[in-house]
């Protein structure tokens, strides 16, 4: 009977959360808001008002302990997941900022909360609670940042890897740890056990952290997958055992089980498969099934009906104001003082003001301890909900998604350049330059330089030698006519760092496609001789690249291109037109070249008899117009978009006459 009841409860919670989640997504809110709201709606605040009978049937009081325990378990696993997804490498290089932000984010709201507690004590503190305990608790409750909610908002908006996101996350992590320690202290004081036990708790917490770092972490580093990449279920079970032990120890110390779970997740070594496998195995189950149970459990304890007079609502408004002023003001000011620009500082302040789930955790603890009344609990839940609710819209205002995405690209480019093939690669302005003819090589290098100048994306110069060169009869590898030397010379002259790549290949077209796929470049540049364009279509290796490459392809018809100064863009109507525009915009953004829109597909004569060259492609969608009429020959870049490798569209790229 109990099991059926629990299953029905979970089903109802999931259903309500998902339905509300759809609505919230439409409003641009993170899923977490929907889940908190669903909990409140299923509780006495709405369902209890509409139909007390239904509430009693679905969530009878006797069933709450079981639901509460399940929710607690879900929370432990969720914090473990949050720890796993926490990337300590993000902390590097921004230590000063994140520490300053998190300190300000605790001290300011704490002081404001403690001051606010003075007038509230008379009416909202349960009988017998001392002013000090009440003040400390309110201060702690104000200074909480919802690290997991923050992480979810950042993840849903794909901001985790941006600098602002990383800084907020790092600060929130430091903040959380400090807040937990403070809360432990408050719990000890409120429990009337005095200052001594509270200090003891803090001491034990420090010992615990040291043991985890010095003993458990090295141990975990040894149990990663061996040989292959499979992780045995024994290993997973072992990690879960350690997780339960860690959570139990922190609970016993008095700093809450969640802290132990988070810390274990954070110290699991990143460089082995174990980390990835753990995340994969538990993520969905924890975030979709278990976590909403906690929200629902909190919602069941929230009785908004208690706030039945204007004074209560004014008080709630006051609490929200104090919370926002303390957290947003404190962190934004600290961020600004450590040298961030105004926009980023405001974004950090907004992000840190998110309280969501953590506030609920703290409030539940307070309610359990009897430090706050049910009425204050409801007010604070509303405060948590409001501060979380306003985060997304404010963030969008201060720091529009487009701007964030740009920053994300910048950050990831820097990271890729710094280290590693290991990091998940995001599209970066890398380019694969295929050179076969030393004569065209300099022009291709100039293009690659213009493509990557600002963001310093990776450039590979690829040269494929025919396998026949290594035949028995060969007398030695002739490096004299190596096009990579021409590439290196031009690259040195323009100050472009590139990686040479040269190997024998019997199927150059396929191999270029393979390298492009391996290196995940968004653009492949190749040069062709004008004679190659005399046929109806581009054949041979070029044809294979155009058909199969998972990237935009630029085919350069070089006529002595030097440093790129101006790009004339002919917008076609064919399927590759967007790609041409995209490329031209990128060239402009990267190296400040001027993009001159040329006439649309007018069919007018192109200079230098170029029409003769590209004319055959008109049938397949290529268009041209008057190219830039200044002196010097015009080089053309035919652009083939990766979405539509079928027909052709050309932007005429005057590529600034070499003069």
């Amino acid at each position: 009977m109990h099991v059926v009841q629990l299953l029905c409860q979970i089903g109802a919670i999931l259903l309500a959360g998902r339905l509300l989640g759809r609505l919230m997504r439409r409003l641009g809110q993170p899923t977490v808001i929907a889940e908190i709201l669903a909990g409140i709606l299923l509780g006495p605040s709405l369902l209890g008002v509409i139909s007390p009978g239904a509430l009693d049937a679905l969530f009878p009081a006797a069933s709450l302990p079981v639901l509460g325990m399940t929710a607690q378990l879900g929370l432990v696993f969720f914090m473990f997941l949050v720890g796993l997804e926490f990337d300590p490498s993000l902390l590097r290089g921004q230590g000063r900022s994140s520490v300053a932000i998190s300190n300000a984010g605790i001290i300011v709201p704490f002081v404001l909360g403690a001051i606010a507690s003075i007038p509230l004590h008379a009416t909202l503190a349960p009988a017998g609670v001392s002013r000090i305990a009440f003040g400390l608790f309110l201060g702690a409750a104000m200074s909480v940042t919802a690290f997991p909610v923050l992480a979810r908002i950042l993840a849903e908006r794909r901001l985790i890897r941006t600098r602002v996101g990383a800084l907020a996350l790092a600060a929130a992590a430091v903040d959380d740890v400090t807040a937990w320690c403070m809360l432990a202290f408050v719990v000890a004081v409120a429990g009337a056990a005095g200052v001594g036990p509270a200090l003891q708790t803090t001491g034990l917490a420090i010992v615990y952290v040291l043991v985890m770092w010095k003993v458990v972490r090295p141990m975990l580093a040894r149990i990663g997958p061996r040989g292959g990449l499979a992780v045995s279920s024994d290993t997973i079970a072992f990690v879960f055992l350690v997780l339960l032990a860690s959570a139990a120890v922190t609970e016993w110390i008095g700093i809450h089980a969640l802290f132990g779970a988070f810390l274990l997740g954070a110290i699991i070594p990143r460089d082995r498969g174990l980390h990835t496998v753990l995340v994969e195995k538990i993520e969905d189950f924890v975030t979709i099934v278990l976590l909403p149970l906690f929200f629902a459990y909190s919602g069941l304890r929230t009785q908004i009906g208690l706030l039945d007079d204007p004074t209560a609502w004014w008080t709630t408004l006051g609490i929200i104001t104090v919370a926002c002023v303390g957290k947003f003001g404190g962190t934004a000011a600290a961020a600004r003082l450590t040298g961030l620009d105004l926009r980023s500082s405001a974004a950090i302040g907004v992000l840190m003001n998110t309280r969501g789930l953590m506030e609920l955790v703290v409030l539940n603890i307070g309610l359990d301890l009897g430090v706050i009344s049910t009425e204050l609990f409801a007010m604070m839940v509303i405060m948590a909900l409001v501060t979380t609710w306003i985060t997304s819209p404010l963030l969008e205002r201060i720091f529009p998604a487009a701007k964030m995405a740009e920053e994300a690209a910048l950050d990831s480019a820097a990271r890729t350049a710094a280290a590693a093939t290991l990091l998940p690669l995001e599209p970066v302005p890398a380019v694969l330059v295929c050179v076969s003819d030393p004569g065209i090589a300099p022009a291709l290098v100039h293009l690659a330089d213009a493509w990557t100048r600002r963001t310093k994306g990776a450039v590979w110069a690829l040269h494929l030698s025919p396998t026949a060169r290594f035949s028995e009869s060969m007398q030695g590898i002739d490096r004299d006519e190596d096009p990579l030397q021409a590439v290196a010379a031009t690259a040195a002259a323009v100050g472009l760092a590139l990686d040479p790549l040269s190997f024998p290949s019997a199927t150059p077209g396929d191999d270029i496609v393979r390298v492009a796929r391996l290196k995940r470049v968004p653009l492949v540049l190749i040069g062709v001789h004008r004679s190659a364009l005399l046929g109806e279509t581009l054949g041979g290796a070029t044809g294979i690249i155009l058909r199969d490459a998972p990237a935009d392809v630029g085919v350069l018809i070089d006529r002595g291109l030097g440093a790129l100064r101006r790009v004339g863009l002919i917008r076609g109507t064919g399927p590759h037109a967007d790609a041409a525009e995209r490329l031209a915009a990128r060239f402009a953004a990267e190296s400040g070249v001027e993009v001159v829109p040329l006439a649309d597909a007018t069919g007018r004569e192109a200079p230098d008899g170029l029409d003769l060259i590209v004319a055959p492609f008109a049938a397949s969608g290529l268009v041209w117009g008057s190219a830039i009429p200044e002196g010097g020959a015009t080089s053309w870049l035919l652009v083939y978009g990766s979405e539509a490798h079928r027909a052709a569209v050309a932007p005429a790229a005057d590529l600034g006459a070499t003069g």
Binding site: R226, G227, T421, L422, F470, P504
Partner: protein, 257 residues
């Protein structure tokens, strides 16, 4: 010529800690660590045999590491050890006869075990490859090993393995490897010209990248790795890089066993 690096490669592949292996053969973890890092000379033949037993490998594979019998014709340290044992005991013709009987009974002459050369095909030997970064060479090997899709996953796996424990075994040889990605052991040899600077146990730049996939688990995988590590011989690597044709490389490899 760096036995330590090869031992570490095999130990990490076997998933053993310095401590576990040390306890198994009765030496300290600190000593093993010094050997692996080249601060102590290579272990004695006895100890190598003990290590081979722990790994489940024929001891000759490990003994060869110290002698680097990869160059055709040169007697391996293992066989030299046998001669020394015979000489030290002053065995007479009769006793030697018994030893020979034992060998004939115990190790009947069968077809030779397939060497590394058997894992390669001419299209998976890349000669005269130039790269700016070592990762690119590993990528190329991945590309040749899994030409039709999936090479990204393989490249990532190889990089991940390299990141955890670099597989440079000295003499300019890098041995990136993976358990899966092929139904049976398959290799690709990428010969770099010019050599590529990298952190290696003996500070020699990388000249050859031998990527082996489909190794599976356990002793067979270790045995392939040990055989691959035997190729870390400066002379052999020099033969490879001087080769002008793929068949020349295959010839040198076949000679090396």
């Amino acid at each position: 010529m760096h036995v330590g690096a090869s031992l570490r490669l095999l130990r990490t592949e076997a998933g053993l800690s310095l401590k576990t292996l040390g306890q198994a053969i009765g030496v300290s973890a600190a000593y093993l660590s010094r050997v692996e890092n080249g601060h102590d000379p290579a272990p004695t033949a006895d100890r190598l045999c003990a290590i081979a037993r722990v790994f489940g490998l024929p001891s000759e594979l490990l003994l060869d590491l110290t002698g680097r019998a990869a160059v055709p014709g040169a007697p391996s340290l293992a066989s030299r050890t046998l001669l020394q044992e015979v000489a030290r005991r002053r065995l007479g013709p009769a006793q030697i006869g018994r030893v020979l009987d034992f060998i004939a009974r115990e190790f009947p002459e069968g077809p030779a075990a397939p060497g590394i050369a058997g894992l390669l095909t001419p299209d998976r030997v890349m000669l005269g490859v130039r790269v700016g970064r070592l990762e690119d060479a590993v990528d190329l090997a991945a590309m040749r090993l899994v030409p039709d899709g999936g090479s990204e996953a393989l490249a990532q796996a190889l990089h991940a393995r390299e990141y955890v424990f670099p597989s440079a075994v000295g003499a300019g040889l890098l041995l990136p490897h993976a358990a899966g990605f092929a139904p049976s052991p398959t290799a690709c040899l990428v010969l770099l010209d010019p050599p590529c600077d990298a952190a290696t146990p003996d500070d020699a730049p990388i000249r050859a990248v031998l990527a082996v996939i489909g190794l599976g688990e356990g002793a067979p995988a270790l045995s392939w790795l040990a055989r691959a590590a035997r190729l870390a011989d400066p002379e052999l690597i020099a033969q490879f890089t001087a080769a002008r044709s793929v068949s020349e490389v295959m010839g040198s490899l076949a000679g090396a066993g």
